[in-house]
Symmetry: C2
Subunit: 160 residues, 2 copies
């Protein structure tokens, strides 16, 4: 297994992971009907870096890293992580998050921020907390969950 920078050709393998997660509408603030072309823009073109988690030639996870705010906020980065449903519970998110923090430091970022973590996504909240992210904000009813309705979204933050 390896975590490496993604090539454009990897997007055909990233897309099923992206589509499954975004269609569920439970974790990411992307439209549930995001097209493959839009997903490529979101995950590949807009970010500064995109990585994949690969095992025996199969892409099982992916993350992006980008600058969260321009100008006076440009020392803080933002990342998004996705793991294929078939590969969950094996520590891929932890591995990718730790990897992304190394990349962020190498690029000169001082902090990492997650802008919009659904409070209902208990696994993610627990994991980011364990990895040193502090919950620094709570946005009341900002996340419209397909089953639970409006739930709070959290802002999580770590000085690197």
């Amino acid at each position: 297994m390896t975590i490496r920078e993604a090539e454009k050709e990897d997007f055909d393998s990233i897309w099923p992971i992206f589509r499954e997660i975004v269609t569920a509408g439970e974790t990411y603030a992307y439209a549930v009907d995001t097209t493959k072309e839009q997903a490529f823009q979101i995950w590949f073109e807009a970010p500064r870096k995109t990585y994949v988690f690969e095992e025996e030639g199969n892409i099982l996870g992916t993350y992006f890293l980008k600058t969260n705010q321009a100008g006076p906020g440009s020392h803080v980065c933002n990342c998004g992580y996705m793991v294929a449903s078939t590969a969950r519970g094996r520590g891929l998110a932890t591995a990718m998050c730790e990897h992304s923090q190394e990349v962020a430091r190498a690029l000169g970022y001082k902090a990492m921020q997650f802008n919009f973590v659904a409070s209902s996504n208990a696994g993610a909240v627990r994991l980011w907390s364990k990895l040193g992210f502090e919950t620094v904000g709570r946005l009341p009813n900002a996340f419209n969950h397909p089953v639970l309705g409006y739930v709070d979204a959290l802002v999580m933050y770590k000085w690197l």
Copy 2:
């Protein structure tokens, strides 16, 4: 005086206001060397709506409104407001913020969020608080102020 939707031709009047505020680097998370073309994209093309505050043919203030997060977050909007230095202290920001809340409700938004208010910008924090915005997040040292160095940025939020 009136607050009306901006036309593309208004941007020549908006640009000096934008440039003065952004060059100071004290309040907005835009690069201090943002070009006029980039500013047009930021203030005019990316947002859903752009308005100007006009008095006797002079544009003294401007704001934009956009969706803050896509998909499960798309019921929350975001606005940015700018007032010419020559017109400060006359209630333009209050008038524009109240106007923007009406526009937001009319467009179907449920809440309004300010993502990145420099905690050093005491006037803005006081004003948004007075207008019903709650400080729901504090991002430690997320704003690099040109004089004060790293200061906290606030997330402010109002259910409409």
